[in-house]
Every structure is written in structure tokens, then in C-alpha cells.
């Protein structure tokens, strides 16, 4: 009770001191009853439930006071204040202020009140003549109230604009709002709703699609501010874009079964549809928000609820992101309209190269969907060799071909359908892997690849199931492809080498077609030689086949694999009128599936060319050997030198025979060296290189390339290439000359032999004119025997002269041709040919000869 009383006294005292601060002395006596009313008022206020809206936080209030002081530019005061507060808070024990927060708060509120009072007085005094005068009282009340709301929000309470009384703002805002409503026929929330409709492609009440403008717009008859009109147009761009995308999807889906949109196109549509459903969700949320009324700006500030309403401006913010996306989609739709399959994926991929992470994200999501059919095709192609591409979207295109050209022509890359995120080399690998599988399946009738494929899939970490790969996982794709390629190629190589004995067949071709098996060739040459001298049209290929058979059986070739020997055949080339057997005879090696992928017809034709060349070379060599057989020192030639009395006749032949020997030596030198060069420098070297490359070859393409290189090397070095057309002509002229020489030698020695025999007869029969010449000799020289020695001598002279002339001609032709040949050799590009020249002209005999 005493406490109560004391409090009352304190209040009384306070009221007293407050009410009569200035004229205290006079008021003390005069107006004691005056105190009655303020006191009651004060007590009422004190008893009211007025509570500070700020939580009792001492440090916060101290901070806010300090900030207040600093803001007013009294930082030194702020420091002092802080100092004093420190001191105050350090006090403890009896008599100190316990409720420091209350005291500080009190001081702060009073201080603020004072300040406002001052400024409002100032304000009213300055503006009273211009603006509507507000009563001081309400003004202050308002201040009081607003102060409270501000305090209730910001902790510690920050002073709101102290120099601009809010009422002025409020009035201005209200007036502005009136102005706006006068100017606009349509309320903003209606516009917002219309814009939302437009963004779904539906005409609203005010916003309609204008085909003339090609876009949504407010109709001109409506009175709306220009700014609003522009804003609506901008927002409705989204609607326009939406229409575009939507139409595309609709059209694609519409024509799907009839026309070929393709799986990639469908995936694209589905992805777009998904994006649109996100967009719908956003629109639904916005639509619910648009139901909230739009408050006035003033309400917003004072009422303090931020509200979920939707204005055009807010809509602009909401639409910012969907707009970017929709624009992107519209661009994609535009650029993909005519594209399909891989090309479409590539076109979309181009747009994914963007710096904006949002767009990147979006594109990645889209591409993942779009590329999934494509990657699925890659997967099934690489692992199963299946080309399930109904709409021709894949970048591998297959076409029906015969088994032997499956590898070369069966499949190819379609450049237009190759999306650019798959590199050319990767595409090549993909193509080859699938091709290998198909090759194994079709040509080799092999099933082992399935194991290899599943192994590869396991190694690459992807399942053989669908949907294992996606866009952006190019690394995974590459691993899968390389794993699959590695295994399947290895398997293919195994099959080709082990099961189909590629190496053995190559060796067989080298032996028989490239005449590597010497004894066989020699024997064959011997037994078919007479046959081949006949005109081509009289030769039976069956007989030749029989001869070939016997050549095989009598040479070491008989120990070869019967399968290999089976494939060796005689082939007669199409022949003309004057052709001899030599010109049309050739050997053939039939490569069956799958090796005919490597030994194609064109390849075999090139082998045939090489065979013909080598065969000719052999024949020339054979002819030379035959010539030597005739020419070598034997009975006839020795007799040639031995005759004494016949020297007049026969000695004439000594000279010619010597010249023959010289020419033969020259020819032999040439042919031997050429033969050596072809056999050792060309065939064997190329073969050993080919063997190395064959071992190194990791896939069929490598093998084909190696084989191609091997063949080309042989052709080039044997002067059969395009570049050495001229020199090879010269070479063939040389061959012909040698063959002619052979014929000449044949005839010459025949003639000599006959002459000799007739001489011998003459001598032994004692010049009897008996016609006892051998009946079977029907040669003209035989007839001459009877005409006596004179005639014989005369004939021998003529014969010698004729032979001598012919020999001269051959020798001359030969030496000029050889000259040309040797002159052309250094011009050839191939390095190895230089060695041939070196070998032929080892002693520099020829170069010196022509230098003279």
C-alpha cells in the first residue's frame, strides 16, 4: 500500500513538473486545480495496456540510439553515449538502475518525440500557406502511430523519413491513383488476367490476337496509358512464342503416323511438351495469384502486407525466365522445322553452346531427351549390328548389296545426319564396329561376336539394355564404342586369320600368282610352253588345266594345302585374232566369301596384271635359256671352228655366232638383273612389309589398307603403275626383241646345222651327186645339197648375210631400246628403281657408251 502511495506521489510530482516547467513559481500557488486533469490523464495513460512493441533488448536499443546519433551527424555524441552506457552497465549493487533498457527506451522515445515536434512546427509554419493545413493534433497522432508500426517492424526502431511527413505522400499517391483510374478504362487486374490468358494462347477480353500485327495486343479502342499498352505487348510476346511452339508440337503429332517425323522429332516434341507442362504449372500459380486484388501503393506501404497480388509489373518479373526459355524453344522449333534425325539433334546442339548456365541447363535437359533415340541407335548398332532406323535418321546408312561388297559398300556414313557432337573419327569407329558385326554375321556366319559385344558392354559399364546412354556423356559413348570396336575387331581378325586363313591365302597367291614358287613355275613353263605357242583360239583350257595339275603334282606345290590348290585355276583371257597362247594364258586364284571382301574382282584384276608381267618376264628368261641351250659350245659350234677346208663357208658363221653370244650376254645381263630386282627388291620386300602390317592390323580396314599398299607397291615398283606407262612400253619392246632374238638364234643354228650336215654328207659321199639325201629332210637347203658345193656356198653366203642383217637390226634396236630404258629409269619416282639402274649399269659401261 505504501508502495502504491509512493508511486502515486511520484506520478503527481512528475505531472506537476511537466505541466508547469516554465512558470513554476507563479503556477505553484495559482493553478493547483489545473493539475487535476493532467494527472487523471496521465494515470489513464499509465494504466493503459500500452506496451512497447519492441522486445526488451538492451544492446539493440543502445545500437539504435547510437545509429540515430551518427545519422544526425553527431558522432562524437554517439561516442560519449557509448562510453556512458559502458559505465552505467558496469555499475552494480544497490541503488543502481536495474531496468536499464526501460530507461534507455524512455529516453529515446522522448528524444524522438521532441525532435518531431520541433520539425513539425517548422513544417507547418513554412507550408501553411500552400498545402492543406492539417491539424497539428492528428498529425502528431499519426506520427505516433506510424512510429509504432515502424518500430514494430524494425528491431530497435529506425526513424522513418522525418522530414517528409507521410501524409503528404499519401495524399499525392491517392491523387495519383485517382488520376490513373480516370485515365484507364480497364482495371489492371483484368489486364493481368487477360495477359495470363494470352500466354496460354487464348484470347482474353481485352487482349486479343491480332493477325495483322502478328501478336497479342490490346485493342486500340480501349483507353489505357501508353506505358500499360507497351507493357502488355511485351508480356504477350510469351503468348506468341507459346503459340508457335504449341503449333509445332501439334503439327508434328498430327502427322506422325502418316509422314515421317522420325523418332528424334518425336522425342523433341515430347521434351517440348514437358517444358510446356512446367510452364502451365507456373501459369496456374499465377492465375490464383491474380485473383487477389491489387492494393494501392499507399496501402502497401502502410498496411505492411506485401501480398500475393499480381500486377503487370510483377508479371513482367515472373515472366522473365519463362520468356527466355520460350524464346529458345521457339528458335529451336524454327530451326528444326525441316530437319530430321541426327541433323536435328545437331542443330539443337548448336544452340546448347551458350554461356548462360540456365540456358545450358535447359538445353542439356532437352538434348538428353532428343538424343536418346539416336544414342539408342548407336548402342544397338555397335553392340548388335542392328540398324533399326525406320525413318532414316541415323548417320549410318545401309543398302542391300552382295556379300562380297558388304564391307566396302554395304554401309556408309550419312554426313548430313551426323550431329556435330559426335566427331568424325568417332563416327567412323561406330560405323566400322557395326559393319564388322554385320560382316561377321553375313559373310563369316559367325556367332562369336555376341559374346564380344556383351563383354564390351560390361567393360564400358553400360548395360546392353535400352537407355544406357545420353547426351552429354560423349565420354561414355566413346568408351563404349572403343571397347566394342576393340573386341569385335579382334574377333573379326581372329576369324579372318584363323578360320579363313587369310595369311595362308596371301602366301598362296604370292607363290602361284606372283610366281614365288620357282620349281612350280619352271615346270609349268616347260610343259605349257609348246602349247602356248599355238594361236590362242586353238588352245583348250581344259588341256591347260590338266597341265597345271601335272605341274602342281610334279613340283613341291603338291605338299600345299589341298584347299589352296583347289582354288588355283587356269584362266584364258579374251583373245583377239593374232594372239598366241602366251598372250592369253593366266592363272587365277578364286577367293570365296568372306575373303573376296579383300580379294575383290578389281584387286584380282591387278594381281592378274602383275601375273602377266611376271609371266612374260619368265617367258623371256625361259627363251633366253633356250637360246643358250642352242648356242652353248656343242658339237655344231665346235665343228664350226674345227673345219678347215670349209672355212670359206663356215668360217663366215663364226663371226656371226660370236656376235650372237655377245648380244645374248647383254640380254642375259639385263633379264637376270631385272628378274632379280623384281623378285627380291620388289616382291619379297613388299611381302615382308605386308606381313608386318598384317600383324599390326587391328581391324579389317587396316588389313585392307595394308593389302592395298602391298599391291600398289608391287605395281609401282614393277613399272606397271600409271606413272611408268612409258617405260613399261619400252620394257615390253625389249622383251619382244629378246624373243625375236631367240627366234633368230633358233633359225640361225638350225641353218648352220643343216649346212653342216649337208657339207658333211658331201664330204663323206665323195661329192656323189646322188640324191641320197634323207627323205625326211624337206628343207630347201637339203635340196641345195645336190647342186653342189658352189651352190651351197652361195646359199650359205646369202643365209649368212640375211642372218647378219637381222642380227644387226635386232642388236641395233635392242641397244637403242635399252638406252631409252636406262635413260628413263632415273626419271621414275620410285627410289628402288635407282638400284635397278645401278645394277644394270654397274660398270658404267652403258653410261660411258652413250656419253661418247
Amino acid at each position: 500500500m505504501a508502495d502504491q502511495l509512493q508511486t502515486l506521489d511520484l506520478v503527481k510530482e512528475l505531472v506537476y513538473r511537466l505541466v508547469v516547467p516554465s512558470d513554476r513559481n507563479s503556477a505553484e500557488q495559482n493553478q493547483p486545480p489545473d493539475l487535476e486533469k493532467p494527472l487523471k490523464y496521465a494515470i489513464r495513460i499509465l494504466n493503459s495496456r500500452m506496451t512497447p512493441s519492441v522486445a526488451a533488448d538492451e544492446s539493440a536499443i543502445v545500437e539504435s540510439i547510437k545509429r540515430l546519433l551518427v545519422n544526425e551527424g553527431k558522432s562524437s555524441d554517439a561516442l560519449t553515449f557509448a562510453d556512458m552506457y559502458m559505465k552505467l552497465s558496469m555499475k552494480s549493487g544497490a541503488g543502481t538502475i536495474k531496468n536499464r533498457w526501460a530507461v534507455l527506451y524512455l529516453l529515446k522515445v522522448i528524444s524522438e518525440d521532441c525532435r518531431k515536434e520541433k520539425s513539425s512546427h517548422l513544417y507547418t509554419s513554412t507550408s501553411s500557406n500552400g498545402l492543406p493545413l492539417l491539424t497539428n493534433e492528428t498529425d502528431n497522432l499519426r506520427f505516433f502511430k506510424s512510429q509504432k508500426t515502424i518500430d514494430s517492424k524494425g528491431k530497435g526502431g529506425i526513424l522513418m523519413v522525418s522530414k517528409d511527413p507521410e501524409s503528404i505522400r499519401e495524399i499525392a499517391i491517392r491523387e495519383f491513383a485517382d488520376l490513373v483510374t480516370e485515365e484507364t478504362e480497364v482495371p489492371e487486374d483484368a489486364l493481368v488476367r487477360d495477359v495470363l490468358f494470352a500466354c496460354q494462347g487464348i484470347d482474353g477480353k481485352y487482349v486479343k490476337f491480332d493477325s495483322h500485327l502478328d501478336g497479342y495486343a490490346l485493342s486500340d479502342s480501349l483507353i489505357v496509358p501508353r506505358a500499360t499498352r507497351i507493357m502488355v505487348r511485351k508480356l504477350c510476346e510469351l503468348g506468341w512464342l507459346f503459340r508457335k511452339v504449341k503449333n509445332y508440337i501439334f503439327e508434328s503429332m498430327e502427322q506422325f503416323p502418316a509422314e515421317d517425323v522420325g523418332t528424334v522429332g518425336q522425342a523433341f516434341c515430347a521434351a517440348l511438351q514437358d517444358e510446356l507442362s512446367d510452364y502451365y504449372k507456373l501459369l496456374a500459380v499465377l492465375e490464383t495469384q491474380s485473383l487477389h486484388p491489387i492494393p494501392l501503393v499507399s496501402e502497401m506501404a502502410s498496411s505492411g502486407h506485401s501480398g500475393n497480388y499480381l500486377s503487370l509489373r510483377r508479371l513482367a518479373v515472373w515472366f522473365a525466365e519463362p520468356m527466355v526459355r520460350m524464346r529458345l524453344m521457339a528458335v529451336l522449333v524454327d530451326s528444326c522445322r525441316v530437319l530430321r534425325g541426327g541433323a536435328m539433334a545437331g542443330a539443337i546442339h548448336v544452340h546448347a553452346q551458350h554461356g548462360d548456365p540456365m540456358i545450358q541447363d535447359f538445353m542439356r535437359r532437352l538434348l538428353r531427351r532428343v538424343c536418346s533415340p539416336l544414342f539408342e541407335m548407336v548402342r544397338s548398332w555397335v553392340l548388335e549390328g542392328e540398324l533399326d532406323d525406320i525413318f532414316a535418321e541415323f548417320f549410318v546408312v545401309g543398302q542391300p548389296v552382295k556379300a562380297e561388297s558388304l564391307w566396302q559398300e554395304g554401309y556408309r556414313l550419312h554426313g548430313g545426319m551426323l550431329p556435330n557432337f559426335i566427331s568424325q573419327s568417332l563416327a567412323q569407329r561406330i560405323l566400322r564396329t557395326g559393319k564388322s558385326i554385320n560382316f561377321l554375321r553375313v559373310c563369316c556366319e559367325d556367332q562369336g561376336w555376341a559374346e564380344a559385344a556383351s563383354e564390351a558392354a560390361a567393360a564400358a559399364g553400360t548395360t546392353t539394355m535400352r537407355g544406357g546412354l545420353g547426351y552429354g556423356e560423349t565420354d561414355a559413348l566413346e568408351t563404349l564404342v572403343s571397347e566394342a570396336a576393340k573386341r569385335i575387331d579382334k574377333h573379326l581378325m581372329d576369324v579372318i586369320f584363323k578360320r579363313y586363313k587369310f595369311r595362308e591365302h596371301c602366301l598362296a597367291i604370292k607363290r602361284y600368282l606372283l610366281l614365288g614358287q620357282g620349281d612350280f613355275v619352271q615346270y609349268l613353263m616347260d610343259i605349257v610352253g609348246p602349247e602356248l605357242s599355238e594361236p590362242a583360239n586353238t588352245i583348250s583350257s581344259f588341256k591347260l588345266a590338266g597341265l597345271l595339275e601335272s605341274a602342281i603334282r610334279s613340283s613341291n606345290a603338291q605338299y600345299d594345302d589341298p584347299d589352296v590348290l583347289d582354288r588355283l585355276r587356269v584362266k584364258m583371257m579374251p583373245h583377239g585374232a593374232g594372239d598366241r597362247g602366251w598372250d592369253v594364258f593366266s592363272l587365277e586364284y578364286s577367293a570365296r566369301v568372306p575373303l573376296n571382301t579383300i580379294f575383290t574382282e578389281s584387286i584380282m584384276a591387278r594381281y592378274l596384271r602383275i601375273f602377266n608381267f611376271l609371266w612374260k618376264l619368265r617367258r623371256v628368261e625361259h627363251a633366253l635359256i633356250g637360246a643358250w641351250k642352242i648356242m652353248k659350245p656343242n658339237f655344231i659350234s665346235s665343228a664350226l671352228f674345227a673345219t678347215k677346208d670349209g672355212s670359206s663357208v663356215m668360217s663366215q658363221f663364226v663371226w656371226i655366232s660370236r656376235r650372237c653370244q655377245v648380244l645374248w650376254n647383254e640380254m642375259n645381263h639385263f633379264v637376270t638383273n631385272l628378274q632379280y630386282y623384281i623378285m627380291f627388291e620388289v616382291l619379297e620386300v613388299s611381302w615382308s612389309q605386308f606381313l608386318e602390317e598384317m600383324d599390326a592390323a587391328r581391324d579389317l580396314d587396316d588389313l585392307l589398307a595394308a593389302h592395298e599398299k602391298y599391291l600398289n607397291a608391287i605395281l609401282e615398283k614393277s613399272l606397271l603403275g600409271e606413272a611408268s606407262l612409258h617405260i613399261s612400253k619400252v620394257l615390253f619392246v625389249l622383251f619382244d626383241l629378246i624373243l625375236r632374238f631367240h627366234g633368230l638364234v633358233d633359225r640361225l643354228y638350225e641353218g648352220i646345222r643343216e649346212l653342216q650336215s649337208s657339207l658333211w654328207k658331201n664330204d663323206s659321199r665323195g661329192r656323189s651327186k646322188s640324191k641320197l639325201k634323207s627323205n625326211n629332210e624337206v628343207s630347201k637347203s637339203g635340196q641345195l645339197i645336190g647342186e653342189g658345193r658352189k651352190a651351197l656356198t652361195k646359199f650359205a653366203g646369202e643365209f649368212r648375210k640375211k642372218m647378219g642383217e637381222e642380227l644387226d637390226k635386232i642388236a641395233k634396236d635392242y641397244s637403242s631400246s635399252l638406252g631409252r630404258f636406262l635413260a628413263e629409269l632415273p626419271v621414275q619416282l620410285n627410289v628402288d628403281l635407282k638400284f635397278l639402274l645401278f645394277r644394270l649399269d654397274f660398270t658404267e659401261f652403258y653410261s660411258r657408251l652413250w656419253a661418247m
Binding site: 511520484l10 500500452m50 560519449t80 556512458m84 549493487g93 528524444s111
Partner: protein, 73 residues
């Protein structure tokens, strides 16, 4: 009241007064002491501030007393 407490109280009041001066509240020392005492008794500082503000304004408008229909804040 022991002298220690008295000294403490005085010093505290000194400090409070100083602060009040810095904040330009226009309160004199005595009034401040009363206010401090009241707030120590648990009076609501908001209400106290209201009293100070309302009553201070009395003098100039003492002729026209504040309207009775003043709403309770």
C-alpha cells in the same frame, strides 16, 4: 539507505541525465529521477514517454484540453 547505495544511485542518475542531455530530451534532473524511479517500479516506458509527451504539450494548448475521444493506441 547506506551511503554506498546512495553514491551508486547518484552516479547512475548522473549518467542517465548526461545521456538524456545528449539525446536532447529536454528533461531536467529531477523529472528524470522521477521517471527512472517509476520505470524501476515496473512502469511501462512507452506509457511513461506518452505521459511526458502529452503533458508537455499541455502548456501551449492548455486552453483547449485534449479531446476525450482520443483513441487508445
Amino acid at each position: 539507505m547506506d551511503p554506498e547505495a546512495e553514491r551508486n544511485a547518484r552516479e547512475s542518475l548522473d549518467l542517465a541525465f548526461h545521456m538524456s542531455n545528449i539525446l536532447v530530451t529536454g528533461l531536467d534532473r529531477h523529472t528524470l529521477s522521477i521517471l527512472v524511479a517509476l520505470s524501476e517500479r515496473g512502469f511501462n516506458p512507452e506509457a511513461l514517454a506518452a505521459v511526458v509527451k502529452e503533458l508537455r504539450r499541455e502548456p501551449p494548448s492548455s486552453a483547449a484540453p485534449p479531446p476525450s475521444s482520443r483513441p487508445k493506441p
